[in-house]
């Protein structure tokens, strides 16, 4: 049989026509998938198996049914399956936790049961836990008190109501879009941390893409939470004694979308991102949204510059003093980091009368406390 005549072969395997140009390399579809998977697996190298007698690491993987976390699940599952097929050692097991998207945001109501079932069928090797957002009252019971303290007079916690109604009342007490998004993220993190502890996991694997991490870093800075970047954006020890890892940190959102489009098995599972609405006034956006849009628009022209933001944040060292007092709500540092002699906090003395919440959380507090 004559050799295949290829017009422009894939630069990796040289055995197929190239389909995708990624970072100035022309690859075929399967080499592209391998390229993306490699970027993730390389990040997971610290959980490599060391020996037969070593227990496997237990990791928690929160899945939102968005593109990024679904792709992460797919890559890790594929890698694990291949190892098992080749009778190689597996270094870790992961539990998948799903906080029911319909209880987090109103936009994702329909057909979620079906998607969840489909995901369970597609990835049968793993354990799945599905909880509603308002189960935070059951699984992180300390939050009840903290939320009451935090919202102050704006939130009357009526314990005779259902958890769902109580959480809705709390969320409604927070006035601006920025603060709502900020507090929602904190509550979700706390719910997931509660499960990580329950399952005795060593780490949580967050499915944030590089673009997302850049937006998170910029938004964190803009919300006065710069000191928390060491675990909200960098890989590192969180205040709860769990490692937070971001294995997708080397991949842009666009590259994950590309990967997803090559996996037909994911197409019915993933809830596609909603296109950002054009006619929203800037001042009505949340800071998180603004930064996401900023990173998206700038990332189209300068993907490397945006990627560099997350990389820069990843170089920060977490504060050395672990004994420092932390915020009751977000577990961030109270006051300044060690070595910071700035007086931003003193300047806003009235804002900080309550010493149990950090600077960033005080900014998102329901009442205008200034």
């Amino acid at each position: 049989m004559p050799a295949k005549e290829l017009k422009e072969p894939c630069m990796e395997c040289k055995d197929a026509e190239f389909q995708i140009t990624v970072r100035q390399r022309k690859l075929c579809n399967s080499c592209y998938k391998r390229f993306v998977a490699y970027k993730v697996i390389a990040r997971m190298s610290r959980y490599r198996p060391y020996g037969l007698d070593q227990p496997r690491h237990q990791l928690l993987l929160p899945v939102s049914f968005g593109v990024s976390s679904s792709v992460l699940l797919h890559i890790l599952d594929t890698d694990r399956q291949r190892r098992l097929d080749e009778s190689r050692l597996v270094g870790y097991d992961f539990h998948i936790i799903v906080v029911d998207p319909s209880t987090v945001s109103e936009t994702a109501r329909a057909s979620f049961d079906q998607k969840f079932e489909l995901m369970q069928k597609s990835f049968p090797a793993h354990t799945f836990t599905r909880v509603p957002f308002h189960s935070i009252f059951d699984h992180a019971s300390e939050m009840e008190e903290i939320m009451r303290e935090y919202a102050g007079t704006h939130f009357k916690d009526d314990t005779s109501l259902s958890n769902e109604q109580r959480l809705a009342a709390f969320r409604a007490s927070i006035s601006t879009a920025t603060s709502q998004a900020d507090i929602d993220t904190i509550l979700l993190t706390r719910l997931i941390v509660a499960f990580a502890k329950k399952f005795e996991c060593k780490s949580v694997l967050w499915g944030d893409s590089d673009s997302r991490l850049a937006a998170k870093a910029l938004a964190g800075v803009a919300k006065g939470r710069g000191a928390s970047l060491t675990w909200q954006v960098s890989d590192g020890m969180s205040p709860w004694g769990l490692e937070f890892e971001y294995p997708l940190r080397d991949l842009y959102k666009a590259e994950l979308l590309q990967y997803e489009s090559l996996c037909p098995e994911l197409s019915d599972i993933v809830i596609p991102d909603q296109a950002p609405s054009e006619n929203v006034l800037t001042k009505n956006l949340s800071i998180d949204e603004l930064m996401l849009r900023y990173v998206q628009s700038q990332g189209a022209k300068y993907p490397g510059v945006m990627a560099n933001v997350a990389r820069t944040a990843n170089k920060l060292e977490s504060s050395t003093s672990s004994a420092a007092a932390t915020c009751a709500l977000c577990a961030g540092l109270l006051g300044n980091t060690e070595g910071n002699t700035g007086v931003t906090v003193a300047n806003q003395a009235q804002d900080n009368h309550s010493s149990q919440f950090c600077y960033g959380c005080m900014r998102s507090r329901p009442e205008e406390l200034c």
Binding site: V221, K223, G226, L290, G304, G342
Partner: protein
Amino acid sequence: MAPTLCFNCKEARAVIIRPKNRHKLCRACFIEVFETEVHETIIGTNLFFRGERIAIGASGGKDSTVLAAVMKTLNERYDYGLELCLLSIDEGIRGYRDDSLETVKRNAKQYDMPLVIVGYGELYGWTMDQVVEQVGKKGNCTYCGVFRRQALDRGATRLKINHVVTGHNADDVAETVMMNLLRGDLPRLSRGTSIVTDSGASDVKRSKPLKYAYEKEIVLYAHHRQLDYFSTECIYSPEAFRGSARTLIKDLEKIRPSSILDIVKSGEDMAALVPAEVRGTTKSKKSGAAEDEPSGGCGSQNGRTSVGEMAAMEQQLSANEVAESNETEIKLPAAQPKAKSQPTKVLKAQTIKHCERCNYISSQRICKACLLLDGLNRNRPKTAIEVGIEDEEGSSTLMRQMERAHLSAT
């Protein structure tokens, strides 16, 4: 409808909505609150000591005019015991600087402070007008920025003053934080927010007492105290880009007015988290104020980047990546596990040296100003050169001009 009463005194009619927190205040309360906040900044950071001589870097613009007015007021009200004077740099831009210098001269009279003007012409042998004639309008801000930083230090040294205060405001600091994050510039991230920057080279330290004051409030303050300031932008800068960071911060301020202050707070915290080995210098020998401000910008442009700069960085980053992926291909397999077992990356550190020619602080062998002067002098038309100095190096020109420079105290 009844007029809204002042949030503070509850007596007078509110005429101002504070940009920082949207409080409605009367004129007197706003002025008092603004001054008190600057006072708290000064006290909270132990900025000055009694009897210290302070030079106020004055450009005639709103920031430095407000700074001079507030410093004078506070010095009298709280009895700091400071000896204040104004220090101006004359870049030699006709139609811009000569007018703003008139403003500074009036300010000197109004505030009863001595004024010293140092010119680029006498320091470097080149006015900005001459530089622009030579290099064109594009890129001339680089020269101006580099020259100005040294000029302030040199001017202060002449006056035997080792503390210069500048009018940098919270917006400037916030911009710098965002810029440095976007540029991945950790050394600058670690020192850009600090209120005082010591110089290792000269004994001149810089500080920014208005670091927590919003630009909008500075304008309001200037307006309500009817200060005399000069508000035209530098005539060479109108085409300068309003960079990414600037736009971003304006948007953030619309969403949450406290954002600017929040960014400053984040910047201060992150500065303390920058690994010691990339900070550039240790505490005892801090890098100079001279190196602190991003190069290539005048006051109105400080911390902003041009799109060209971003594109250049993008190109470099993607080239790095290509180089990296090429590198893995030829790497020896044995070398890989070793590289992986290394937990932390080795980060490139900055070291601070002194310029071999003018002895000014520099991270290179020869400082930026001397390099730029070299370029300028090389291309200077022979006819424009005075007899006898053709063969002189840029640095000796500089030295000679420095010797000749005299300070005209007005």
